[in-house]
């Protein structure tokens, strides 16, 4: 039986194709980009959105969960974009690069140090065409087909940028729409810098964000990448970070997921340079009826590399969380040290969490430790805190915070770590 021909399109799938047909000519890019978009939409027509039968999407049946599709969001007026940005708190001392509804606003950027070359992706050459268009990569398929803009950025060789480079993704407007941005970022040899990628949007409005960022770290480059996903409460967020690590490079990724109704965050790292290291720390919070899926794929392709991943998750109310962590160690990648831990607190009867570590190891001299725990709060800890006069609710929050925030301790930017703690606290406070 041929699945593809017998599959009836869902409403969202039909709409996506229809929207593409209507918008294709108005989407930016040269001929190569147009060709890439055509390929992407052909892939969508062929595969549809993934069901649980696609292994990488087993716990997130996108075809079932993504009920509706929206037109690409139009570029707002500058004044409107500015107003939308002003509705949120932004850390001071950050180089803020605003992307509103999938459109970059260079007019709203404060000064950028000379070490950084940044431009709208639309201005660049054929910038949209990386990434697979296979059935298990709907994020890239959708983003390639519909991306309206994004950033092209280079951090120059040997330069150190002290301010965090903040990619400020905001969704605004009074109409459901799809915001799709795509970023290509190169941190050149020996450069050192920190990025933050934040996603915020309106509550009470259904919209879709697709976001793909391709990041390259050159020889000896050092970078921190912080993802703060706080989309509106009815939003669908499909995000992907694709990283290639060069020789002797160091990358640390911090991720906090507190928003969105349907969220899939993918982190794909190709560890391509010897002696490189990767640290990922993630906090994922699923409340209400939200579904948050974090899926990571690490490919250790060369010898002598280190990766460490720790995820702390809380599911409560009717929230549902997923973590899939795949680590592949190639045959030549001897002396790989890859550690992964996923710890989850389940705080209600109706919440859930699925954790799936997956190791594919073809080298023989490697260290690969992984562990997943799922538990409720420790009763004896609760009792101890209460016995000191702390009311139960507060004691619970104290323990939940401790559990989550412990993994931010390693972050050497205290101000930023504090800001992340504030986002976590805000989420907790909202459910007292």
């Amino acid at each position: 039986m041929n699945m593809h021909t017998t599959r009836a399109n869902t409403e969202a799938e039909t709409k996506l194709v229809d929207i593409y047909d209507r918008f294709a000519t108005s989407l930016p890019g040269d001929d190569k980009v147009s060709a890439a978009r055509e390929d992407a939409i052909a892939a969508l027509k062929e595969f549809g959105l993934p069901t649980r039968r696609v292994e990488a999407w087993h716990y997130t049946d996108l075809r079932n969960l993504m009920r509706d599709a929206y037109e690409p969001a139009a570029k707002p007026e500058i004044a409107e974009a500015e107003k939308a940005l002003d509705a949120y708190d932004w850390l001071s001392g950050i180089i803020r690069l605003p992307i509103v509804n999938g459109h970059y606003f260079p007019e709203l950027v404060s000064e950028v140090p000379e070490a950084i070359i940044v431009s709208s992706l639309c201005e660049g050459e054929s910038a949209f065409i990386d990434g697979s268009l296979e059935a298990d990569n709907p994020i890239n398929i959708l983003n390639t087909a519909f991306a309206t803009d994004g950033l092209s950025m280079i951090v120059d060789e040997g330069e150190t940028v002290n301010e965090t480079i903040g990619i400020a993704n905001v969704f605004t407007g009074d109409k459901s729409a799809m915001a799709s941005a795509r970023n290509n970022i190169v941190v050149c040899d020996g450069a050192s810098c920190a990025f933050s990628e934040r996603h915020v949007g309106l509550n009470g409005l259904a919209y879709t964000t697709t976001s793909v960022t391709n990041l390259w770290l050159g020889v000896g480059a050092k970078a921190r990448w912080v993802i703060v996903q706080e989309e509106g409460d009815l939003a669908t967020h499909l995000g992907q970070l694709n990283v290639t690590l060069g020789e002797n490079s160091e990358l640390e990724i911090y991720m906090v997921n507190t928003g969105g109704k349907l969220v899939r965050r993918e982190i794909n790292v190709v560890v391509a340079g010897e002696n490189s290291s990767l640290n990922i720390r993630g906090v994922n919070l699923a409340g209400n009826e939200n579904h948050i899926d974090v899926t990571t794929v690490l490919e250790h392709n060369v010898p002598n590399t280190v990766s460490s991943q720790i995820y702390r998750n809380v599911a409560t109310e009717r929230g549902n969380g997923v973590f899939q962590g795949q680590i592949r160690v190639a045959q030549i990648a001897q002396k790989t040290d890859a550690a992964m831990a996923c710890n989850t607190l389940l705080l209600s009867d109706d919440c859930g969490f699925s954790a799936k570590p997956e190791l594919e190891i073809f080298a023989d001299d490697v260290l690969c430790a992984h562990g997943a725990t799922i538990a409720d709060l420790e009763e004896s800890h609760l009792f101890y805190l209460q016995a000191r006069g702390i009311p139960e609710n507060e004691a619970r929050n104290l323990l939940i915070k401790a559990f989550l925030e412990e993994i931010l301790d390693d972050m050497d930017d205290e101000k930023f770590a504090e800001a992340l703690v504030c986002r976590i606290d805000a989420w907790l406070d909202a459910r007292k």
Partner: protein, 253 residues
């Protein structure tokens, strides 16, 4: 005035129904230091947990009155705010909760509950520094998560620091002396003695006379198989030290 009055207390473990306390009677006056001694497994820690409000136990009979109030009606944190403090036999390690943060939350929760003004950061730090110095506790230790990686003796000292800061009315010390070195025993005892006052009572659970050399009790009670089988003055502890429990248990049987 009676601060604590326990009458005919019967308690069992909720989970499996095992009876632990079987008709325990005890009363402690304000200003009094009462020592409870008794063989391993006789129910001393169980009694202290029940006083603090741990819900692993079910009270099947009897009553506990604390300053005229029915203690069993009060929530765990209410008991603490009303001045009841249990120094744990085995203080718990709580990863991720910085000790200072915990101390401050505890102190201010109690104050808030009692309708008192909460401490400002400088006020709080000043208090902690002063009390930590008295107990010879290094402030660096308090930057670590609560009790995590503390040595046995450090944990006990940290319990007494909490007690000194929270200024409870009824202090229950469950084998605070175990794990302490000779100098620490002295420091901790001085800490407890400093809290002795006419409006405060102390219940000291211990196996050893040496603690009672430092914290001299007004009364001594022997707990065996869930009951107080004998009470006396400080000489009773000396007698137990010499002869052990066998005679007394036999006489009570």
């Amino acid at each position: 005035m009676k601060m604590l009055e326990i009458k005919n207390l019967h308690a069992r473990i909720v989970e499996d129904g095992t009876k632990i306390l079987r008709g325990l009677n005890l009363s402690v006056k304000a200003g009094e230091v009462a020592a409870i001694m008794g063989p391993n497994g006789s129910g001393k820690s169980t009694l202290s947990y029940i006083l603090a409000g741990k819900d692993d136990y079910e009270i099947t009979e009897g009553s506990i009155t604390y300053n005229g109030q029915n203690l069993l009606d009060m929530e765990i944190h209410e008991r603490a705010a009303a001045g009841l403090f249990l120094a744990f036999q085995y203080p718990l390690e709580i990863p991720g909760v910085p000790t200072m943060n915990f101390l401050r939350t505890a102190m201010n929760s109690q104050r808030k509950f009692r309708g008192e003004k909460e401490l400002t950061t400088p006020e709080f730090i000043k208090l902690v520094k002063a009390e930590a110095a008295k107990l010879k506790i290094d402030m660096n230790m308090l930057k670590r998560p609560l009790n995590v990686g503390f040595s046995g003796g450090e944990k006990k000292r940290a319990e007494i620091l909490q007690m000194a800061l929270l200024e409870p009315k009824l202090c229950i010390l469950d084998e605070t002396d175990s794990g302490l070195d000779i100098d620490a025993l002295k420091v901790v005892s001085e800490g407890v003695n400093a809290l002795r006052s006419p409006d405060r009572a102390v219940v000291v659970i211990t196996h050893y006379q040496r603690l009672l050399d430092h914290i001299v009790p007004d009364s001594v009670h022997v707990l065996s198989k869930g009951q107080i089988i004998k009470s006396g003055d400080k000489s009773l502890a000396l007698e137990l030290e010499k002869k052990g429990y066998a005679d007394i248990i036999e006489a009570a049987a």
